[in-house]
């Protein structure tokens, strides 16, 4: 078991997300960086969708109430285990009583704390993810609180290898497929949209990254569209012109123009983009998106091979 001494601004239990219920208005939820969770789980011998803690911004402290293998993915947020610095992407062994502290970083926003066995919370609509808005899933639908005790499943492997894996780096250059309502704007508009970086607003959260620019008035509009399905990666343009990239907790339908869709391989970058970070957009075609997806799968395959080789040693 793990005791939460301080959850920081927002720590939640998340797995890969809640699927198959969108048509009932139930959001996907789940980690903002699925690749980080999958790599972390594979390093620990867990199933890909074992639940972990998504930690936001830092100032978070956890105490191990039992010996436990764990790995931090995403950013380490300047973490220490009993005051010894640790890095993300490496399996660690914690002893009972050890304290894990994530201080925070100016250059990153989120960390994933994965445990051998994964977090033991009930499946709600087939997922362990916390739906903060709907208040279900995770630990009684709530973010972690000071004093919360988290149970873990028994690990598949008695001994986890001392091993690590490289995570593909995070960027702020985002590749975007044209959305259906981009056609409402002309070529000049499209150029203006991508020629300068957008800036992440403080009001951004797990529902979406809100963006602004000093020339945002140029993007004002009064285009009305009927509601249609939306999902993580959709770039909505509300009348204010402040573009919004939808993330894991977003609603399932929306009535703002969809000007683009962030390619799947690049959506994870928003995990680490905090307030006032610049974001550069580039429109690409479907082949680029498919190839980027294949590169991700290739990276995961290489990690699988390395993990299997380690087991044989």
């Amino acid at each position: 078991m793990i005791e939460v001494i301080n959850p920081g601004p927002l720590s939640t239990v998340q797995d890969l997300g809640r699927f198959g219920h969108r048509q009932q208005g139930i959001p996907q939820s789940g980690v903002l960086d699925p690749l980080a969770l999958i790599i972390g789980n594979r390093l620990l011998g867990n199933e890909d969708d074992a639940a972990a803690i998504e930690i936001t911004a830092g100032n978070a402290v956890f105490r191990f109430m039992e010996d436990c293998s764990f790995v931090l993915m995403g950013s380490s947020l300047n973490a220490t285990l009993n005051d010894m610095p640790i890095h993300s992407g490496w399996c660690m062994q914690a002893k009972q009583g050890n304290v894990l502290r994530l201080k925070g970083s100016q250059h990153a926003l989120r960390s994933y704390l994965c445990f051998a066995g994964g977090i033991d919370v009930p499946l709600v609509l087939n997922s362990r993810s916390t739906d903060i808005q709907g208040q279900f899933g995770g630990l009684s639908g709530k973010p972690l609180q000071s004093g919360t005790v988290i149970s873990l499943f028994k690990p598949h492997q008695t001994q986890v290898s001392a091993q690590g894996a490289l995570q593909p780096p995070y960027f702020n250059h985002i590749r975007v497929l044209p959305g259906p309502h981009l056609a409402c704007f002309d070529e000049h508009w499209k150029l203006r949209f991508t020629e300068k970086p957008w800036s992440v607003q403080l009001s951004s959260n797990r529902m979406g990254t809100r963006l602004i620019r000093d020339d945002v008035e140029f993007f004002n509009h009064n285009i009305r569209i009927p509601s249609q399905a939306v999902h993580p990666g959709v770039i909505q343009l509300p009348p204010s012109g402040e573009a919004m990239v939808l993330l894991a907790d977003c609603q399932t339908t929306g009535g703002y123009p969809i000007i683009g869709q962030v390619i799947e391989a690049d959506l994870r970058h928003f995990t680490q983009l905090g307030a006032s970070e610049p974001v550069y957009f580039e429109f690409v075609d479907i082949n680029t998106a498919t190839k980027a997806h294949e590169t991700t799968l290739f990276h995961l395959n290489r990690i699988n091979i390395a993990i299997e080789n380690n087991k044989k040693k």
Binding site: Q24, G179, R224, H231
Partner: protein, 202 residues
């Protein structure tokens, strides 16, 4: 005429208006029929119909081309199987603290408060599709006299159970949420409870 576009390698959208700006509502039965047809296949993670579009989330992007062609060729032959619909009565307290936008709406629609209440409560609505929040149904059947654009400035907090209208639709907020619809009343009816066998009664 049904249009189709690829939003991402594994996401297909069929749309009656092809992304043109419009608030016109097309018969949603076309999309519900496509939904019923696609539900029979194991190829989809999620299928989300709305009033004039349907979005298909594919497990395997290699199946995209098949479904794109199949639906465009066959959708006219799909028939919507109307299930034995249940009629739900929604006890609603209109106006005052329960419907904070009712007075302003009366001026906007040039109808008295009583007329709005009478009109809103004398028709049967159909849950055409779900979305926005767990348990939020988009109800069609709002009388034309009550059609009204969304609020210019959305409320930061619409209370749970709020009965609201916008465009040609009515809805009930199943949980507290920011929202841009005009709130005219409130109900105690619960729309989303996880212990329901199906999470929603509608």
């Amino acid at each position: 005429m049904l249009n189709c576009y690829v939003l991402s390698p594994s996401i297909l959208v069929f749309d009656a208006i092809a992304g043109k700006p419009s608030t016109e509502l097309v018969d949603p039965l076309t999309f519900l029929a496509i939904q019923q047809h696609c539900t029979l296949s194991e190829d989809f993670i999620d299928i989300v119909p709305t009033a004039n579009s349907i979005t298909l989330y594919l497990r395997d992007l290699k199946r995209r081309e098949f479904w794109q062609n199949y639906i465009l060729e066959h959708y006219l032959k799909f028939e919507y199987q109307r299930a034995n619909a249940t009629v739900h009565h929604v006890p609603t307290r209109y106006g005052g603290a329960y419907g904070v936008d009712l007075t302003a709406l009366s001026a906007l629609l040039n109808l008295s408060v009583d007329e709005i209440i009478t009109q809103h409560s004398s028709f049967e609505y159909i849950v055409s599709f779900m979305g926005f929040l767990p348990g939020f149904g988009y109800l069609t059947g709002l009388p034309p006299a009550l059609h009204v654009p969304r609020k210019a400035v959305p409320s930061t907090k619409v209370p749970r159970g709020s009965v609201a209208i916008a465009e040609a639709l009515s809805a009930i907020y199943p949980s507290a949420s920011p929202g841009g619809w005009h709130v005219i009343g409130q109900t105690d009816l619960k729309l989303f409870e996880l212990h329901f066998t199906s999470p929603m009664p509608v």
